[in-house]
Symmetry: C2
């Protein structure tokens, strides 16, 4: 496949329209630089980083990445304004924002010459992203791991709807684990793809080996959305999630439920590898994940499968 006229490749000045999504505890400078060096776009996931940690990762990226890279900032986090400051101070050229309003930081980032992309779960929000002046939009279906839209639109429904709704380049996310799914995304109007869980389960990912093995072992059906009433999160069913759901069914008040979840659950699961009591943030893509390749092996395979799927 020739991507020389691909709008996403042109926008980011990259070789292949494959983006590694920002993820908590998995996508530091090591994973992101490997993706960028392999011709895709690596994103440092700021979600689990205090501003000084983010700065350190960006500085390491500048040395490790020979090609363009970006930073992903979930706007719901309390450090997000400071994270935007760090990106500007460090001269980051590409910023993806998510989980909040695209209007919040886009003007400031655009004024500084940053390429800005925002992640949405619906066509209505994609239009708002375009109106806010973003350069591209990521449309993420409900199969994705982590925080999830309440409406639960699947990628098959969401992607063509967003493709019809906006003129800016649209990047498909949610449920892409191989080159066939990447091809399907292009058929449905995408000009690029963003993969999260699939990149979390590579050699260079910062996730714990136990987490990676759990994703390889899991079927897609094991990656369920829980905590629906407060803040929907897709993660692998385990002892912790079962207990959470039991407490919820028994009518435990929201505050007590959130206190039970606590602050370090995803760190415990993804980073520390506690597969029983941690939150194993992951998407339904686990259905297609059967190994732990290097980023270069994965990229090669994705492009080969993409070419073969017609």
């Amino acid at each position: 496949m020739d991507f020389s006229n691909n709008r996403v490749c042109k926008l980011f000045n990259i070789q292949y329209p494959i983006i590694q999504g920002g993820m908590v505890w998995a996508s530091g400078w090591k994973l992101a630089s490997a993706v960028s060096n392999a011709g895709g776009l690596g994103l440092v996931g700021a979600g689990s980083m205090k501003p000084d940690v983010l700065r350190e990762h960006i500085q390491k990226m500048k040395t490790a990445a020979e090609k363009p890279f970006g930073v992903n900032i979930p706007l719901a986090g309390k450090y997000s304004p400071a994270q935007v400051d760090v990106c500007l101070e460090e001269g980051v050229k590409i910023v993806f924002t998510a989980a909040g309003s695209a209007k919040l930081h886009t003007p400031r980032l655009k004024d500084a010459g940053v390429t800005v992309v925002h992640v949405v779960p619906s066509a209505a929000l994609a239009k708002k992203v375009e109106a806010a002046g973003c350069d591209a939009v990521v449309a993420e279906g409900t199969e994705a791991g982590g925080h999830n839209g309440r409406e639960g639109l699947t990628s098959l429904i969401l992607w063509p709807s967003v493709a019809d709704a906006v003129k800016i380049p649209f990047i498909a996310a949610g449920g892409i684990g191989d080159g066939r799914a990447m091809r399907a995304a292009f058929v449905l109007g995408a000009q690029g793809v963003q993969l999260g869980t699939r990149f979390a389960v590579t050699q260079e990912s910062g996730a714990h080996p136990n987490y990676k093995s759990a994703c390889v072992a899991a079927t897609g059906g094991a990656a369920r959305i829980y905590n629906l009433t407060h803040m929907p999160i897709r993660s692998l069913m385990n002892d912790y999630v079962k207990e959470f759901c039991q407490k919820e069914a028994a009518g435990l008040p929201t505050e007590e439920l959130q206190a039970f979840r606590g602050k370090g659950r995803s760190q415990k699961g993804v980073f520390e590898g506690d597969v029983r009591q941690g939150e194993l943030v992951a998407g339904q893509t686990c259905e297609a994940i059967k190994d732990i390749p290097t980023v270069q092996e994965l990229m090669d395979r994705l492009l080969k499968e993409f070419d073969a799927a017609v």
Copy 2:
């Protein structure tokens, strides 16, 4: 597109690998015969029919359909054994079964020379369908309207997994509303597609005009799964579903909740057109549904879009 070597077309002796799914209150002889006559495969949906009503519809089909047709039987219904009897007595040549074990009636139907297809929500169950001797399998993602698998696998995840798991022809269902989605299904390994909600919103469908208009007006996000703890059903959010969910959140016992839903909710919604108090069974495909075409217009459009989407 040339379908002369398509396995689904060959299996059913039809022109196009497009199947109209069996639906409660929408897919009687009138809709099914229109689909068959347009070159697809129309299915009489037995779900909402007592055995004598099903017999009447089959007899009318024999007159109205000039080409092959079938019957869809949800096995969870109490009339399903009698419905199988009626199909055999009337010489129906194609039977789709769903919501139950493929082993239940397949041997009896196969002995009578019937082509048998079973609907599943996972690759593990698709293998069981193959082992039970079925001729093909329908893999239906969670975006579909009506009764839904508990695991919630989306079509993007489910389809390639089933394509890899079985050798019998696999028909993709769940979320297909246009020819782009049909093309994506083929990219992901399908040899045919089954459309439900999209056919329910045609001129020939037996659904009430109010129901059809509600589907046209709805976004995909309005088609939610509710009644998760007892029997997950995807239908349009309305006064009734809101009240059901409120009662559920307030801790109403399952029996009282199911009594509140009652027996005639889908009839009230789909057939009688009570858009406030009825159950408006529908899939996320509503996102793509913007008109109420004739079956012939829809078939022409699907094939044109399928050819254009590459």
